[in-house]
Symmetry: C2
């Protein structure tokens, strides 16, 4: 089976490396030329939980995929705002039974992916593996996951099995989600609090837990997200989710979330519109106010403008 | 007439200097020992709109006011959270007709001052003079005001006249407010947007105007404040206030608001509870939601905790 990692930045490289080490036929693809060039010529240098690997995985820039390449499985790992462009580039390289796996942060990615493959061929999920990119060709992968996956429709269950086995062999710690939408919304709570707040306050996850008032911010954002989640038939308990988030921040305390890395370290635009922004938008479509999530999204955008992020 | 400046940091020193230069009998008082000691021994060095002055104005720490001193007029210029303590220290030094002038930022200071003098002896107001403190004994005063003042009750009108004439002679540019509560709430809109946002985003006032999203933040905070202001019978138009704020930010663009100076430059706790926090509290008492103002207050507090502000 030919596997493409469509979006091989920090997390994509990590998944690609884990799959490649298991003997899979993996191709890395990315839209960022320096990353594609570095890995193509010098291989991928990756630190996986403290151990260094140097892997010669084939890599192409998304505009330069050889025309005869066809993939059976595509893992989507772009930034949310680059998903559409990546799907366009990957479209000539998929066939009637290609499975697309999307464990990207953010809401409603499936509504765009479904324009390229049938719903039953989308394996959707979330993951708590964390990763970072030090420089082109040099990345790290941390944690132990899991990757929660599920199908959007009953007909997709076989494809979930295929991906589950693949991830299991590659030690990526897959779980089959009992309630996919709930898993997605719970991850939105993680990203909508940790990513947004660490980016605004310019701090590590542990700093949020150390401050009584930062914990209030976490709670207030969560409360709104939980209200909007009911639109998708997801009924979470805000207090339970809050305690889950505080525990999670404790576990990965020294980590800087990906949004912090994007904006503060690399001056790149963030995925905020697909997280807090998407919550506010979806809420507004269903007459559920989420003023704090909208405010948070605008504040991160103000910070992008202030830093002239690209 | 013996005049006390109760709270002689940046703005208090500036008002004290302007009054002293006009030949008034002024005494500076402050709770911060380094400031009191520096001015006592070396005089006040102050830059007023680009001109340097060195003035030997008497100064005492608030705990060391000579017992025989009695003041006819007290200008209150503490940080909001130090007002109560200052009033306690000043109480032995006021008499039956002492006038207290309060043009401090924040809501409802009069509810505390009224425990020390009759309502008719409180001259309340707001000012757009700006000031800063470089080091103990070294401050600057900028702008041209105005100082808007008014009385809380009709019987206080004579006292407003006294203060008006004093400020007029000292070129502090007084205006008699036609609607005192409206002036106070409009200033709350200024502080609730500019001070809070420049402190969170760590930027100058002009930076807010340069960003489309920062302007949205200004608008959303303003909209809530305007709604809560109705509790005090004040009916402002959010769009009009918003444009007033944007114009004001243009005029004083390079300035860093006092809250920024407190927290970012000097690692001191802020007055946020008396501005956005007070708006949210007052709103909540009257069943008017102000979630964004509460969120902003909590975020500034989170930042205080993060920086271990004193």
């Amino acid at each position: 089976m030919k596997i493409a990692i469509a979006g091989s930045g920090a997390l994509g490289s990590g998944f690609g490396a884990m799959l490649y080490r298991q003997g899979n036929d993996v191709t890395l693809i990315d839209g960022w030329e320096p990353q594609a060039t570095a890995v193509k010529h010098e291989g991928l240098h990756i630190d996986i939980n403290g151990e260094d690997y140097h892997l010669n995985i084939p890599m192409y820039q998304d505009t330069k995929i050889p025309s005869d390449l066809q993939f059976d499985i595509v893992f989507l790992f772009t930034k949310a705002m680059q998903l559409e462009s990546m799907l366009t580039h990957i479209q000539p390289h998929i066939h009637d039974t290609t499975i697309m796996v999307c464990t990207m942060n953010g809401l409603k990615h499936e509504e765009r992916i479904v324009n390229y493959v049938d719903k039953s061929r989308i394996v959707r999920g979330v993951t708590t593996w964390t990763a970072g990119l030090e420089s082109p060709g040099h990345t790290h992968l941390m944690g132990s996951g899991p990757v929660e996956i599920g199908s959007l429709v009953p007909e997709g269950q076989n494809n979930v099995e295929v991906i589950y086995n693949l991830l299991e062999q590659a030690k990526l710690n897959p779980h089959k989600s009992e309630d996919l939408q709930q898993s997605i919304w719970k991850k939105i709570c993680v990203n909508g609090t940790a990513n947004a707040l660490c980016t605004i306050l310019e701090c590590r996850l542990s700093t949020l837990n150390e401050s009584e008032y930062a914990r209030k911010l976490v709670y207030d954002i969560t409360k709104e997200i939980v209200e909007v989640a009911t639109v998708d038939g997801v009924h979470l308990n805000a207090d339970e989710v809050y305690h889950y988030l505080i525990d999670l921040n404790d576990k990965v305390g020294p980590h800087f979330p990906s949004m912090y890395q994007d904006l503060i370290n690399n001056n790149r635009r963030t995925e905020i519109d697909y997280i807090n922004g998407a919550v506010a938008r979806l809420g507004s479509e269903h007459h559920i106010d989420a003023p704090i999530n909208q405010f948070v999204a605008n504040m991160v955008h103000a910070k992008e403008e202030q830093r002239q992020a690209k």
